[in-house]
Symmetry: C2
Subunit: 400 residues, 2 copies
């Protein structure tokens, strides 16, 4: 789904953003993006749990562990994943080249890559991209950065909030890359939050976990992840003073950051590869939170549910069936299923006459499906997208 | 995929088969099938583990527990699932009607249903179907039975073997209903094995478990099952004497039965809803058998893998990525991936020059993908199908 977003200029004091096209993508579209802080700044990050973590993830983990970074360099079009020792050497060399160009130590640079798996990085091209993107960096370049890091994304994804913290106005700006179908599979997800709040490295790490847990893990980023998934939080400290642990100010910053993360997550669910809807699947009344999570995952991934979402078919039988094979125990007669505000299934049977109203809800771009199991206090939620013929055509013909 | 099978006449001494159209299907195609043994015969069965087990499954479990049955009555077009107490009453009434028509006690009849979920059985129509199918029963009716129990199946599925057991020639004939896409979701699977071997009820139960474990569970029937999945084994005892436990004769019968089950499983994987390939995913070298099973399930269900299968794209990156997010631990550098006999991934990297040969393997209807993890003795296998735009179109437009 192509979204027209008004691309209003967004600046985050303390950060500059650059982009360039160096020819990694055959399309010659921008494929290098760069974020540079004025100084090394506190950083937190959450990375993929995929066992085949890509070289930039391996190196990124190492660099983030230092607590501070000054530059992130992203290339799209090549994931530098499953590239063996050469891939790790290429990632290290990338950070040396970026550092040399910008006059910062390589250890203050983290690399990110997204695109085709299993092909070595074209270092000659990348070198040109590093030069150009570094030269391009400016405080107004956030949208250019967002466009450059795309692969199959139909549109760039940006969200931001301004929040009053201790008398100062703090900006939280988010950029994401990733297209639909995240939940059942592993199109790479890159997420960045930039803020001018003053955080310690520990607070930046905590904020990264909050954003991941509060939004992107509901796109299933936590379990079924690509080789390259990464979420970074950088805090320049240009606005306001330090934030005390447990303070209302820090909590406001957390809420704003999670809100930015959630909007980015919905944009990802709505984007590309034939997705036309972002549907929130909400399970309650499970025996435990883990049980709710398993039910929500099974329903979110069911091909029959996802194709019914595409056809706006209020087929509660497919939903009930997926709940039934989730492996969780519950009493079928206590289960209630609602599409939007329309109850379609109750006490083991369909609700007569609910079909037309439920279908109207399903014709919307965004709606929720609520599943109450009547078995305990466990709840979970996941954002999923519909499955369209276009997705399958696209992924049958394209080597990611 | 439409398969032209030569429909050679198959008879199993001791059984007659009937079919009829009673109008449950709007298409007016046959929608009632019946199997009647000359006397009550030993029966074994394996049923869905779905928590929303359909009424005929609930009643079938009860009837099979007796150890012997004389009649199976199947309707297609309506699953009698999620139909509450009325559904169970309708299932019981069906067996009474069948019993009355054939002069056997209702308790010697088991009902099966497959089709739309959540709609009560149209009992008036069904009554006509029972009359007609009973009148139609003959020893040569196996193919008609196979055609009548279809829902979205493009072709009837029949397989058989003849095997020498203790000097006698024993027939094992199998009939299945179910279309592609079994592994990731829950198109209903009905499977029947009929043999004229002489078995005890305990041996029939054991044989049903062997067939389920050796073939259909590799289509993931065990975990992710529809509300109605059922596998029945009936043994008329018309040929040969009793088979001793642990004897070579019984083992030959087991091998023949599992072979019939496996052929039916491949036919299901190849059938309908846009599937064009049956691909065997084979995992070895996992820490345990359970770990191998989890890896094989994740790979078999990955949408990106299944779309790559459709496009005959030897995209080992998608396979490796799915292995990587399976949650199982292994050493990425020890992993080897082969498509057919072509190794495409070894020691953490793609194999140069393997692409063209691997693609040729993938253009076939049936091939295997082998994944060696290098971590232990665990193995597992699963048959999956490709994911095509036709599948998605079909399931977006159709209420199952």
């Amino acid at each position: 789904m192509r979204r027209r977003m008004r691309q209003e200029p967004i600046e985050v004091p303390g950060f500059r953003f650059g982009a360039a096209a160096c020819g990694i993508k055959p399309s010659r579209r921008p494929d290098c993006g760069l974020v540079v802080a004025d100084d090394p700044v506190p950083v937190g990050a959450v990375f993929t749990r995929n066992r085949f973590a890509a070289a930039p993830v391996v190196l990124g983990r190492e660099r983030v562990a230092q607590g501070r970074l000054q530059v992130l360099f992203v290339n799209s079009g090549n994931a530098n994943a499953c590239t063996g020792p050469r891939g790790l050497a290429d990632a290290r060399r990338t950070t040396r080249l970026v550092g040399a160009r910008l006059g910062v130590p390589a250890s203050a640079v983290a690399p990110l890559s997204t695109g085709v798996i299993g092909v070595p990085l074209p270092m000659k091209k990348l070198e040109r991209g590093i030069q150009a993107a570094s030269g391009d960096a400016s405080s107004g370049g956030l949208w250019r950065f967002a466009r450059a890091i795309r692969t199959t994304d139909a549109f760039p994804k940006v969200a931001f909030e301004r929040v009053q913290v201790g008398g100062a106005t703090i900006t939280v700006a988010g950029v994401a890359k990733g297209a639909g179908m995240i939940a059942p599979d592993m199109a790479t997800l890159l997420v960045f939050l930039f803020t001018d709040a003053t955080l310690s490295p520990a607070q930046a790490r905590w904020l990264a976990r909050c954003v991941a847990g509060g939004s992107f893990n509901e796109l299933s980023v936590d379990g079924d992840t690509s080789t390259n998934d990464s979420l970074y939080v950088l805090a320049s400290g240009r606005s306001g003073g330090p934030l005390r642990r447990g303070s209302a100010d820090l909590d406001r910053l957390r809420v704003a950051s999670v809100g930015v993360g959630e909007r980015l997550a919905r944009l990802v669910a709505l984007d590309g590869e034939g997705a036309t809807k972002a549907v929130s699947i909400e399970v309650s009344g499970a025996a435990t939170r883990a049980a709710a999570r398993r039910v929500v995952e099974v329903v979110s991934r069911s091909l029959l549910v996802k194709t019914a979402l595409h056809g706006a078919d209020p087929n509660w039988g497919r939903i009930a069936c997926a709940v039934g094979y989730s492996g969780e125990s519950f009493e079928p007669r206590r289960v209630t299923i609602a599409i939007g505000d329309v109850v379609v299934f109750r006490r083991g049977c369909g609700v007569a006459g609910a079909r037309a109203a439920a279908r109207r809800r399903m014709l919307r771009d965004e709606f929720s499906i609520r599943i109450e199991l009547g078995d305990g206090p466990g709840t979970a939620r996941m954002i999923t997208s519909d499955l369209s013929p276009a997705y399958v055509r696209f992924n049958s013909a394209y080597t990611t």
